[in-house]
């Protein structure tokens, strides 16, 4: 077995027992990147020199005896929208092609405090706007399971780098499904935590009331380990929540006796691929065997989620992205003579198509005369969606569903029809609107050999329960830490 094939949990044991050094593990991942990234295109930047320094530092810590943090010496990739001090952070955009953050995001600080090894920054849709990573200004990551298929998005590089075993885990972000969807399409585990559970300080903002940072890993235990490292209150994020963080690994292996699993009929409607439905049904059977009972629940406003999201997210984005004006950082058009021309030319050349489209929708939805009809209306329906979940959780502890209506699709399938692609987000979007946590766990494969994930959603701050249910699912499917043949 190559070191890069180890899970974080397995690597921890090998590192602590002295069978493996962090440098060996890191070199193994760097070699893997050299061998397969020309096919996967996950990494926008490989920080080899820094990674080896961090590995040596971790090895010194481990050698000095005593207990080290659970992620000490573990090589990870980072979605390129989390600020890394002194390391270019592009957000997948020409606008930030040369942006070198003067500080670390809180989650990066926390990982560094544990002694992790950061291998580099991975590809994503520009400003996290997209469902396939095809909106990345620089390169498009491949699905490691099938050539020519999308890895999903917007955290596509995180998912492809974890599934392709170029790293042991990754940090992504999820605004409407951007962790759970690529995790599902690439056959890895991905968690979107409760809004406010993980600090957003140093995360390049897309839609501030929806954005949340979370891990992508090769099994559920690793996901819990990474959540342990990044969760918690941060005074630099005024929406982060003061609440004790449990050890998410503590209750993983407990059974599910008496757990109530809600099955929302609206998530199994028209447009759901029968192969995806079968995978989720199999998941339900696994949970029943582990002691869970099932309950039919209803989330009647599910069908309005996409419409709500594609007004609220662009509205917030149009405001957040007003900061890219060519003055203090980022791209500036060199030819403009007046300040107004500089703003316009900078933004017109610095942003790609999808970003412009969403800025236009958002500006329109917030503009005088349209605010009530669009932004306010959407915010009211958001309340109805939130209330649906509150009512459903009176009858169940977790909700099980597909993550996406279909497995991964071919690149270029939706290039000219943005609305068709937006509609594929229907099963993940509501969790962001309601601020609840969700996790995607590998559930099976389609007849074409593409991974299919299962989504579990729970009430605010129910991550511990989600991990326990996910762990039971993983035991039942035996699909932890699977690697495709990349050839």
């Amino acid at each position: 077995m190559n070191p890069f094939e180890l899970t974080i949990g397995q690597a921890r044991t090998e590192l602590d027992d002295g069978n493996l050094s962090s440098r060996e593990l890191t070199v193994s991942c760097l070699d893997r990147i050299k061998n397969v990234d020309s096919k996967l295109h996950s990494f926008l930047l490989v920080t080899e020199e820094e990674a080896l320094q961090q590995a040596d530092e971790a090895d010194r810590k481990i050698a000095s005896g005593g207990a080290v943090d659970p992620l000490c010496g573990i090589p990870l990739s980072i979605k390129d929208l989390l600020c890394t001090k002194g390391i270019v952070t592009t957000c997948g955009s020409r606008m930030l092609e040369n942006f070198v953050p003067p500080y670390d995001a809180t989650v990066i600080e926390k990982l560094k405090a544990q002694g992790v090894v950061i291998l580099g920054k991975v590809a994503m849709d520009e400003f996290a706007m997209g469902s396939t990573s095809e909106n990345c200004a620089f390169q498009v990551p491949e699905n490691p399971w099938k050539k020519g298929y999308v890895a999903g998005g917007s955290s596509g590089g995180s998912a492809s780098s974890v599934a392709g075993m170029e790293c042991l885990g990754s940090l992504g972000s999820d605004t409407g499904g951007s962790i759970r969807q690529p995790a599902s399409l690439c056959g890895v585990v991905g968690m979107k935590p409760t809004y406010g559970r993980v600090s957003r300080y140093g995360l390049v903002a897309f839609a501030s009331s929806l954005d949340q940072v979370g891990p992508l890993t090769r099994d559920v235990t690793d996901c819990a380990l990474m959540m342990n490292a990044i969760a918690g209150y941060d005074r630099r994020d005024s929406t982060s929540i003061q609440r004790a963080t449990p050890d998410y690994t503590d209750s993983l292996s407990e059974g599910l006796q008496g757990l109530r699993v809600g099955i929302p009929r609206e998530y199994f409607g028209e447009g759901l691929d029968p192969e995806v439905a079968r995978v989720v049904e199999n998941g339900v059977e696994i949970l029943k065997r582990a002691g869970a009972v099932t309950v039919d629940v209803s989330l009647p406003h599910t069908e309005y989620g996409v419409a709500v999201y594609y007004l609220i997210a662009p509205a917030e984005a149009s405001s957040n992205l007003a900061r890219y004006d060519g003055v203090a950082y980022g791209y500036r058009d060199p030819n403009a003579d007046t300040l107004m021309d500089m703003y316009r030319e900078t933004r017109s050349h610095g942003f790609g198509d999808e970003v412009k489209r969403r800025i236009l929708i958002g500006t329109y939805a917030l503009s005088s005369g349209y605010y009530d009809a669009y932004y306010k209306k959407a915010s009211q329906v958001r309340t109805l969606i939130l209330n649906d979940f509150k009512k459903a959780y009176d009858f169940c502890d977790v909700i099980i569903s597909p993550v996406t209506p279909t497995p991964a699709w071919k690149r270029g399938a939706h290039v000219d029809d943005p609305l068709a692609l937006y509609l594929s987000d229907i099963l993940t979007i509501s969790a962001n609107l309601a601020g609840i946590p969700g996790i995607s766990v590998p559930g099976g494969f389609s007849s074409e050999g593409l991974p299919v994930g299962i989504q579990l959603q729970g009430p605010h701050f129910s991550e511990e329960t989600l991990f326990r249910v996910a762990y039971n699912l993983e035991q039942g499917t035996g699909l932890g830490n699977r690697c495709p043949d990349i050839g």
């Binding site: 003067p102 009331s209 329109y364 915010s379 009211q380 937006y422």
Partner: protein
């Protein structure tokens, strides 16, 4: 039509974006599709429903008003496309 070419031009101006003729035609069509779809929300009666702006509401996050270190000027200027060591430089305004 949910949105006209003139409205898209107006919104682009508000958003400080220049659109080429080709972009303007394409974006108008795509935005029209999207707005026709989101009109689905009109099916719902939301009279009296309070809007949600944050799913998990918290009170004001106050902190002590203490002086702490801030980013040194040189570091703050380091990413500037044009700077003179003291400030960011932009095209003449007045």
């Amino acid at each position: 039509m949910k949105i006209t070419r003139e409205e898209v031009e107006h919104v682009a101006k508000l958003a400080r974006l220049n659109l080429s003729e080709e972009e303007l035609v394409r974006m108008t069509g795509q935005l029209d599709n999207i707005l026709a779809y989101v009109a689905k929300l009109d099916e719902l009666d939301t009279e009296g429903v309070a809007p949600t702006t944050h799913a998990f509401s918290i009170n004001n996050a106050f902190r002590e008003d203490e002086v702490t270190e801030s980013l040194p000027r040189a570091e703050a200027l380091a990413n500037g496309p044009d700077e003179n060591g003291e400030a960011f430089v932009v095209p003449r305004i007045i």
